[in-house]
Symmetry: C2
Subunit: 250 residues, 2 copies
């Protein structure tokens, strides 16, 4: 699938592609910002689970996808200059001082939820997962600071309990929920108006279940206005060689 | 207990002190080496679980022990220059370019093992845990490269199963064992001659059970010969404010 993407034959979302293989969020930053960003990830492992950090200057993630090339192997990229979205492209150049970070993505635990017969509403409805900025601050590191962003999936209380058990197995991809039930406790005013993604239906008897979200590091990095930042375009992830099952710690 | 240590009244090992609070390994490196060292930890989370990375220049771990001072709050330190042990002291100076790392320590999961009635032989025998260099290379990061170091605790197969379940709950402090039973598979020639620590008795019917060990990052860092590195002296750990129970993910 990476070869197909590299050839330019596919530049769409990666959601159902290469099932069973871990997909990753991409963040690329100049070396000057890389240490504080990695400190930020280390201090906030729930929203920022680090799968790999490339050697500075190298676009090859040698441990999660040897031979891959982060300049061309994602279907779509976003380029931010001084924190502002400047361009959306299908390949990028790699300066000598750039450092590539691959961070865990909720696709991994959503597959586990679906396999257990649990609902993943935004997939049912064919939209993007709803995401919300919360009133909880991440631990800051240097210039990198900002609120925790969460994703939300509606479930019955029984389903929420089972989903807690299942996602607990995956601490490397956000782990267990951070909250269930009361959006106001997270400072979320209106579930129908997410800060990122699309709203989804919450049915009678369902609670909103919230997980730490991989958008957090991107939002925080953009807000810190690095001179240059490259990310994947939303939903257009990097496909690694690592089986999803390997992310489970039990 | 940190106040007692700071006052100089106690400069001995911390093993049974402040029970229930997470103790940490300390590594301090110059800013120039800090990014690659943190990358090394991120790529090797089993031996190198990061509890906190301080702001460069600051000896205060603001998240795990606000108000503490890493210059004086450990009972004993080792100072390495160009990778060679140069001194052992009870307080250290902190240059503006130094970065302090706190890494998880096996004391946390050993307490959980003891609470479950499982044997921790080196504690029974009153010696240091036996540790061995293995034939498994860590993922390198820049100049930081070297073998995985493991600690060993002898158990019956039934005890090893229970210990696997219990330590699985603690991915932030080394997690489940990396091997059980056959030391030769790890390249260990003689269990009676550990590379670090002391040998312990293995009784009839017991297997050696091996966990990734926090000595790994120290051994790797020393081998890379940084201009300056400060660590805790073996067994003389930093006591955080974080309850051990908080390290459990389930």
């Amino acid at each position: 699938m990476r070869a197909v993407i590299r050839s330019g034959e596919w530049d769409g979302p990666t959601a159902a592609l290469a099932p069973g293989y871990t997909q990753a969020n991409l963040v690329v930053l100049p070396r000057a910002d890389a240490f504080d960003f990695l400190r930020f990830c280390a201090l906030n492992p729930r929203p920022c689970p680090v799968l790999e950090v490339c050697e500075p200057g190298s676009p090859e993630p040698v441990w999660t996808a040897p031979g891959a090339d982060l300049r061309v192997d994602l279907p779509r990229y976003r380029i931010y200059r001084d924190g502002e979205l400047a361009d959306e492209v299908i390949s990028v150049e790699w300066r000598e001082d750039l450092v590539g970070f691959l961070l865990g993505c909720s696709f991994t635990f959503e597959r586990a939820l679906l396999a257990a017969g649990l609902p993943v509403r935004h997939i049912e409805q064919g939209v993007n997962v709803p995401m919300y900025r919360t009133n909880r601050d991440c631990h800051p590191a240097g210039r990198f600071a900002g609120p925790l962003v969460v994703s939300m999936r509606p479930m019955t209380p029984e389903q929420a309990i089972r989903a807690t058990q299942i996602t607990t197995r995956y601490p490397a991809v956000h782990g267990a929920p951070v909250h269930v039930g009361d959006a106001a406790r997270l400072g979320i005013e209106d579930l129908a108006r997410p800060d990122y993604g699309d709203p989804v239906e919450i049915r009678p008897g369902e609670l909103p279940v919230f997980w730490a979200c991989g958008v957090t590091p991107q939002a925080v990095a953009a807000a810190s206005r690095p001179e240059l930042m490259i990310t994947h375009a939303p939903g257009h992830m990097f496909i690694t060689d690592v089986p999803d099952a390997r992310q489970a710690t039990l």
